[in-house]
Amino acid sequence: MNYFEKDLTSLHDDLVAKRISVTDLVKATFDNIAATDPDLNAFLALNKDAALKKAAEMDEKGVDPDNILAGIPLAIKDNIVTKGLTTTAASKMLENFVPVYDATVVSTLNDKGVINVGKTNMDEFAMGGSTENSAFKTTKNAWDYTRVPGGSSGGSAAAVASGEVVAAFGSDTGGSIRQPSSFNGIVGMKPTYGRISRWGLIAFASSLDEIGPMTRTVKDNAILLSAVAGHDDHDLTTSTKEVPDFAAELNYQTSVKGMKIGLPKEFLGEGVDQEVKDAILAAADKYRELGATVDEVSLPHNKYGVAAYYIIASSEASSNLQRFDGIRYGHRSKDVKNLEDVYVNSRSEGFGDEVKRRIMLGTFSLSAGFYDAYFKKAAQVRTLIINDFQAVLKDHDFIMGPVAPTPAYKIGEEVSDPMTMYMNDILTIPVNLAGLPGMSIPAGFAKGMPVGMQLIGRPFDESTLYKAGYVFEQATDFHKQTPKQGGNN
């Protein structure tokens, strides 16, 4: 079976009413993955034996009618550690790495009865926007197998969009949840920085990284965020703010009446595909029709986001990735004569080109004589980008715009040109720099491929984004359209 006609609520009803057992649901999920994934390549590892064992235990004790996540199979991006299940971050460096603990997100989901079906493909160490930087395989876009799924959470997005799973978790450092969600026509939330614990997320850029849910519907997304959000003693950047029951606020009474929405002129500027612009302008009209006001605003420092981001993210990455030294875990070169060789040869063999590029950019930006000109300057520009958002969000409930300048492009088309790849992130990156919540929801099609709309909110106000996303979803049918099996749309 695929999950095109299902959401968390209907699956839960089926399980509670025993129309299907957890075991049969898990088996059907793996059968469909076995049929779909040899071409789609969304998964790096499947967790079949453990999943079936847990399913049998749940059938034995019965599905808790008050726990909507009990017995639900979903997928986890491969940079989130899972105890006893190989976790590679799509890098040769970690090809045989078996974590000894679960990420907080994973243990929370496990405790709630979720069944992890497997680990999804991604750009190596989450560096990239097409999943082509995976050391192991190339994931396809669920809508067109000749196109990229986006990235870095491309495996998670393709798995959800193709109906392999009802939901998956990804991570987003510069757009890695929102952009693949946009490319695959699904809902992806990058929550506020500090909303979800990063304990067990293989670190890329610690001041920017955030885990988030990827789903077919806004409501499912809201359910999963409430399930995993909150303070964690293992990640002291997590907020102690209370976590709302986001989904409880989504019903027939939910409305955007009276809301003020800002549409930054910089988000519809040069380089943004005309059909993408048209979809976003149509969405703005839809919001006006639904009783909100939409007016043009400005984020004057937005255009500097990409430069500031690639300095900051690469600097943090160059520091975080120092731990991969071939000693305690990970790849160790066989070609060594001394300890220095272990470090240098293991890293040179274990890392792919994009990872090396970022490590070198970061090392350069932090090195003596360049720190003030690059790293400090970027950190100052980051402050200005934050100030721009604050000014707009002071008198607007949220900001809307596209997620990416274009729909999904062809596999192989851009991967050899890092500058073009980096510029693609121009609309998602500033949100990470400011630590704000950002969500992608389906808002139309361009050249037959899905277009995502990005909603950006105030810190810790995912609630407004879910409400606005839900209302838009109820008023449109973009989210109900599904790719044909085999990606031949």
Binding site: Y101, A307, K337, E340, K377, P418
Partner: protein
């Protein structure tokens, strides 16, 4: 256009990062890094006089906790990830090039 980073500098940065590059890679990365650093330099257009740098956007500041040792009891599982281990220790190459220590 003047180059912003040359092959010697890229070689130096690679050595700081414990990466080795062959001649082809050195050429390839130098061209790319030069172009990307050109992008970085667009930040010079921005007046940042008196602007505080941002290093974290967390709402938590200086959270303290007790420093308590916790025995995970997972020595074998941890060592299973080490490329080489022996008698409960991680093994590294014994051949150390002494000239590098001077």
């Amino acid at each position: 256009m003047a180059s912003r980073i040359d092959q010697d500098q890229v070689q130096h940065v690679a050595s700081l990062a414990k990466l080795s590059l062959n001649d082809d890679q050195l050429k390839y990365f130098t061209t790319q890094l030069d172009e990307i650093i050109g992008l970085f330099e667009t930040l010079n257009e921005v007046d940042t006089e008196g602007i505080e740098p941002t290093s974290s956007v967390s709402d938590q500041i200086n959270v303290m906790r007790e420093d308590v040792a916790d025995n995970w009891g997972q020595r074998d599982a941890l060592l299973a990830n080490a490329p080489e281990s022996e008698k409960g220790y991680i093994r590294v190459p014994t051949i150390i090039d002494e000239s590098e220590d001077e």
